[in-house]
């Protein structure tokens, strides 16, 4: 029998991913404590959460009484000590090993021995993150996809020292939240990014090699395989600077040439072409329209 989880803490809840995870936990009926170091983004998360559940009411997915009950269990704090009452804390802070390792170490000092620590890292090693605390057996990888409140997938990874009981408890909690977990080894990028980052780089290199333009490549992928989005459209969506960061996270630990940052990508980022968020990447965006760059 796995342990009972009642209260869930989310670190980095002022960010998009953290806010989504908090909504997932609240929707499933858990008491949620949203933690971040600054109040303003936390308030934004609270407002987004209220709006999300209001929409659920309007769509007939929950009653107003249920909405009020969920929001009554939804708390926010800038005091990390408030997480002491949590049975599960999921961190979704900046993707940096030292930052995450220090945070887990701090939580280790604050939380009771039974508390499980989940890391939402998409690229870093769970084992290395867990090395910052005295209970690595209670640290587990829980990588949600953006936006977490809409995407069902969670990549779950045990570190070398993660106990079976911890992994099972986190797995059961994830399933109980209505998410769909998949189990992966603690390897760089797990499944999703390990396949996606080099594939996206290959698409950029195909442009560099003059095989086709971005629109041609995306059209081929969509029409040939039935994908909803081509790789260049996807890079524009996630941000070219994010793709650079992913390359920089992957290549030094995998030495996979496909994971190395393509020169064209670096040049485009240097030119301020970051994708949708800057209005131009592999395509130009004017309003909702998209034009091949």
């Amino acid at each position: 029998m796995t342990q009972k989880i009642q209260t869930v803490g989310v670190c980095g809840a002022g960010g998009t991913m953290g806010a989504g995870i908090a909504i997932v936990a609240a929707r499933a009926g858990y008491s949620v404590i949203c933690y971040d170091t600054v109040e303003a983004p936390l308030m934004k998360t609270v407002k987004q959460t209220e709006a999300f559940f209001q929409k659920s009411v309007e769509r007939g997915k929950m009653s107003t009484a249920e909405r009020d009950a969920v929001l009554a269990r939804f708390d926010r704090t800038t005091d990390i000590g408030a997480l002491a009452k949590c049975d599960l804390v999921i961190e979704a802070v900046f993707e940096n090993l030292e930052v995450k390792r220090k945070l887990i170490g701090r939580l280790d000092e604050i939380c009771p021995p039974h508390t499980i620590f989940g890391s939402n890292t998409s690229t870093l090693s769970i084992t290395e993150i867990a090395s910052g605390c005295s209970r690595p057996e209670r640290v587990v990888g829980m990588h949600f996809c953006l936006p977490a409140q809409l995407m069902k997938l969670v990549e779950m990874s045990p570190g070398i020292l993660t106990s079976e009981a911890t992994f099972q408890a986190a797995w059961d909690w994830t399933v109980g939240c209505g998410q769909i977990p998949v189990k992966t080894q603690d390897k760089p990028g797990f499944i999703l990014n390990a396949l996606l980052v080099p594939f996206n780089n290959d698409a950029i290199r195909a442009i560099e090699a003059g095989v086709a333009d971005a629109a041609g490549i995306d059209t081929a992928i969509k029409a040939g395989l039935g994908y909803k989005m081509g790789p260049l459209e996807l890079i524009d969506l996630i941000g070219l600077d994010t793709q650079v960061r992913l390359c920089e996270a992957f290549y030094p630990i995998t030495f996979d040439p496909r994971a190395a940052c393509p020169p064209l990508l670096r040049r485009m980022v240097a030119a301020g072409l970051l994708g949708r968020k800057s209005g131009r990447g592999f395509y130009s965006y004017a309003g909702n329209a998209m034009f091949g760059a």
Binding site: I191, A209, G216, A220, I221, Y227, R258
Partner: protein
């Protein structure tokens, strides 16, 4: 625009029963000549000469530097192994190709209901160049125990909205087919990403026995 077909063997792009085959005329004066199989004869008098490609490059059929090759274009309808062909056609051109020939070929194929993308004459064109290394990586991850095949496929379907995952796709297309394509790519590019993976090599060896 009228087109004639010169066929030698089975076509992967237009198998028997495809309406495109029925639309051809038997007339030496047709403006476009479509070759489904070798040998190819360049004909500068045509608006376009279309050559069906498999894993090979167009330059294997005609000398791209020759003046009478400017209207010769390659094409391949994307097909995952023995599965039915998609409606995506990769239309291959040389830098020196005549733009009018490209437009005429594109119009012909689009009229036949195809989605056409133009690409350079490089091994693997767009799709095999991009997809085969990904399938290789997925097969390697499977061997290394990163996750089960089902979990890898589920991840790609749920996380990226793909209609199918990389393992089911490469297996459904045929590991033997994957071997043939990756072998051809590896021979040209010489990079490890294209090297046929163990499972595909084994499938090819079994077929040979």
């Amino acid at each position: 625009m009228r087109y004639s077909i010169r066929q030698n063997g089975e076509s992967r792009s237009f198998p028997l029963g495809e309406s495109f085959l029925d639309g051809a005329v038997v007339d030496a004066t047709a403006e476009i000549a479509v070759y489904l199989g070798s040998p190819v004869v360049a004909d500068a008098g045509k608006t376009a000469v279309l050559v069906e490609l498999h894993t090979e490059c167009l330059a294997q059929h005609v000398d791209e530097a020759a003046p009478d090759s400017r209207n010769v274009l390659g094409f391949a309808r994307y097909r995952n192994g023995a599965l039915p062909p998609s409606n995506l056609v990769e239309l291959v051109r040389f830098p020196s190709s005549n733009d009018g020939a490209v437009e005429a070929a594109k119009a012909l194929l689009e009229t036949a209901g195809m989605t056409v993308v133009v690409c350079a004459d490089q091994p693997g064109r767009i799709l095999d160049r991009l997809l085969r290394p990904k399938y290789n990586a997925a097969l390697r991850f499977l061997e290394e125990g990163l996750a089960t095949a089902k979990d890898m496929d589920t991840t790609c379907k749920l996380g990226l909205g793909y209609p199918d995952g990389p393992i089911e796709r490469v297996v459904n297309g045929g590991l033997r087919h994957h071997y043939d394509v990756t072998k051809a790519l590896f021979e040209t590019y010489g990079t490890a990403a294209y090297a046929p993976p163990r499972q595909a090599v084994a499938a090819a060896r079994r077929k040979e026995q």
